[in-house]
């Protein structure tokens, strides 16, 4: 069965290693923080100016001066630091952030990503996404495998305006975990109960399938 957004987040959390500074995009990526192992040390950076971001505040303790990049009220953990936007992107552009997790509307088999604009229809802007994808060494995309119309979001080439070129290394969808390299999607894992055939049908770009495709989230 396809994963829900919490399970996608749970699977991505396995990619978060001890000592990582991590930037979480809006949406599913935000949920990843909830699933990171307790026995490792990780710090979350939000590009609006905090390192050491904590969970949402207790009711009544919200502070208008303390939000994340999704404009949600948050808390700061002991050891957190606040900084300005230029410093924030020094962390990102200077490759001090170890892992970037963000959503996408389309990913191409060469690693291109599109997630900021549908011409003539939706223009929210790129926010910090272009800086993040142009700079990060490790980029994981969290998204559904297909869009609401049922069309694949894993394409031979993107149709929407790009956010970055050749930058996506890994994708976790509701159906599968895939690695992007050598101009193809390499299937690594499948959602529990989802068949390789279903994944293949939902993938428009070139899909490389190994002999064995283990299930995700096996305990």
């Amino acid at each position: 069965m396809a994963l829900d957004k919490f399970q996608i987040a749970e699977r991505i959390a396995q990619e978060v290693k001890d000592g990582y500074y991590v930037n979480l995009g809006i949406g599913i990526p935000t949920l990843v923080a909830n699933f990171v192992r307790e026995d490792i040390s990780v710090e979350f950076q939000s590009e609006n100016g905090i390192l050491g971001m904590g969970p949402f505040p207790w009711e009544g303790e919200e502070d208008a001066d303390l939000i994340n990049a999704g404009k949600q009220t948050i808390t700061a953990l002991p050891g957190a630091a606040f900084f300005d936007s230029a410093t924030s992107f020094s962390m990102i552009r200077g490759r001090h952030v170890d892992l970037t997790i963000l959503g996408a509307m389309e990913v191409a088999q060469n690693g291109d990503i599109a997630n900021w604009k549908i011409p003539g229809k939706m223009v929210k802007g790129m926010g910090g996404a272009m800086d993040l994808v142009a700079s990060a060494d490790r980029i994981i995309v969290a998204m559904t495998h297909t869009n609401k119309a049922g069309d694949s979001k894993l394409l031979s080439s993107c149709t929407l305006p790009l956010t970055g070129v050749g930058c996506v290394k890994k994708i976790v969808t509701d159906l599968a975990v895939l690695e992007v390299r050598d101009n193809a999607f390499h299937l690594l894992e499948r959602a529990p109960g989802v068949t390789v055939k279903e994944i293949q049908q939902a993938t428009q770009g070139t899909l490389i399938i190994p002999d064995e495709v283990p299930e995700m989230l096996k305990k």
């Binding site: 609006n48 001066d65 936007s85 230029a86 790129m126 910090g128």
Partner: protein
């Protein structure tokens, strides 16, 4: 110390004219110069070019100046969550330049720092790079980006002293420090204006040299855009 105090927001905004380019601090509704925005609306100046990370919401922040059609061009990185903005943009009434957030911050910082141009990898290979010079450094392509030029910078700080020294709070800092000294005139509004000598010189985020006018703001709403909480 040089005294930068003005009596009120009206004095602080003296000289703002239609057609000018303004920088406005804030991220979403967090750390925005509420008083200055209110005064700009009252003044009725229009044909403005506004440089700000976001465009407010329908009825607050820069959304107020959109309602009254005072903005001709918006330069921002993220403009979601604003229906009137989207309508004006898609209809062509509003000119919009969307640029990557880090590039936006660095173009402000460059203006403050007398750096006319710099290279960044953000946006290479996308629409953002169209018509721009590109160049390879360390095996990676970069775009040449230029410092902004603006007439006024409006920023909001937590505390400030009469010499213009500023301290920001939490994530309300965001673009505010980078916009100080990045325009011909920088106007700082603060929640608390204190006498010179009150602030620890080690803890000042923006030294007064980057600020031309400072005043204590009033009636801050400090609206929360997305109230997310845990329940006990």
């Amino acid at each position: 110390m040089i005294n930068k105090t003005v009596n009120n927001v009206a004095e602080a905004c003296a000289g703002v004219e239609s057609g000018m380019t303004l920088m406005l601090g804030g991220f979403g509704l967090c750390g925005i110069p509420e008083c200055a925005i209110g005064e700009l609306q009252r003044l009725g100046v229009n044909q403005l070019t506004c440089i700000s990370n976001n465009a407010g919401v329908d009825d607050f922040g820069l959304g107020l100046l959109l309602q009254t059609r005072q903005i001709k061009t918006m330069i921002a990185s993220y403009v979601g969550e604003n229906a009137e903005f989207e309508r004006q943009m898609l209809s062509g009434e509003l000119e919009v330049q969307l640029i990557p957030q880090g590039t936006l911050a660095q173009r402000c910082q460059a203006a403050q720092s007398g750096i006319p141009a710099f290279y960044t990898p953000a946006g290479y290979g996308t629409e953002v790079g169209e018509g721009k010079e590109s160049r390879e450094f360390n095996g990676k392509m970069h775009l040449l980006e230029h410092a902004f030029e603006a007439d006024f910078s409006f920023v909001k700080a937590w505390k400030g002293d009469t010499a213009g020294n500023l301290i920001f709070k939490g994530t309300a800092r965001n673009f505010n420090p980078n916009m100080c000294g990045a325009a011909k005139i920088t106007v700082a509004e603060v929640e608390e204006l204190v006498p010179v000598g009150t602030l620890d010189p080690n803890q000042i985020h923006i030294p007064g040299i980057f600020v031309q006018r400072i005043f204590q703001g009033t009636d801050y709403q400090k609206r929360i855009e997305q109230r997310t909480v845990r329940s006990k």
